[in-house]
Symmetry: C2
Subunit: 145 residues, 2 copies
């Protein structure tokens, strides 16, 4: 039963990811934009000062969740920490267009994260990347079950 509900919610979400409007689902994800030629795929590499790690993670999870759930042009926001050194964070970010990226960095939730964590971040590298196989697709969502 739970699986059926979850599947229905995700199926509707997937439909949204392909650009059509759908009724609201149990999932809090917004409709998503289609990837445009000026879309961005990026690996953001962040080194956090160890004394702020716990606090930083709260900010990072919050901004990632809000961005993914509420911004049509934020297609992925998947953040991971190295097991060997959890202060090394990598985020796979995908923006549907350059405009979607500008909208993201202007958003209240991103500015809260950015200003709130400036003193916690030791280094930040933004590596824009190209998927090797254009047919290799990712759908990224928050599963609130």
């Amino acid at each position: 039963m739970i699986r059926n509900i979850l599947s229905a919610a995700i199926s509707a979400l997937i439909l949204c990811a392909y650009g059509c409007n759908q009724p609201e689902t149990d999932n809090d994800m917004c409709d998503k934009s289609a990837m445009q030629p000026d879309g961005i795929v990026r690996l953001s590499k962040i080194k956090v000062h160890p004394e702020y790690l716990e606090e930083y993670l709260r900010y990072a999870v919050e901004v990632g969740t809000t961005s993914l759930e509420t911004e049509p042009g934020v297609l992925t926001m998947y953040a991971v920490a190295d097991k060997e050194d959890p202060c090394n964070i990598t985020i796979l970010e995908t923006y549907a267009s350059a405009e979607a990226y500008r909208s993201h960095i202007a958003s209240e939730h991103f500015q809260k994260y950015k200003q709130g964590t400036l003193h916690m971040v030791d280094s930040l590298v933004l590596d824009d990347v190209t998927p090797l196989n254009p047919d290799n697709r990712i759908i990224n969502f928050i599963d609130r079950k």
Copy 2:
């Protein structure tokens, strides 16, 4: 119409990703296993000798596609190249379990890639990682349209 077919195929795929068996779809993706406690999320970082880059990419796309389409325990295999230096490749790999990983590296397609590209690879770093938010989910598939 195409969108509907694609959506139906992907919806079926999503159902598969949550562990149930589904009829075949237009998509060539196999049923997927559920993530287990000993599952692995990894960033593999590969530096390729420039003179072999083109040939390496063919191997990498082939093994990624085959792994994702045919291995139930390979949940993501998303490879990207740095725009600034395309010889720097990063692959987001997710294995449903330690056994799924062992099965992957024992597979014929992986061994073809591994043995075929040994002389092309300058360095290889396997960084096991932990997603910051356990509710942040990725579904990865090959879209053959």
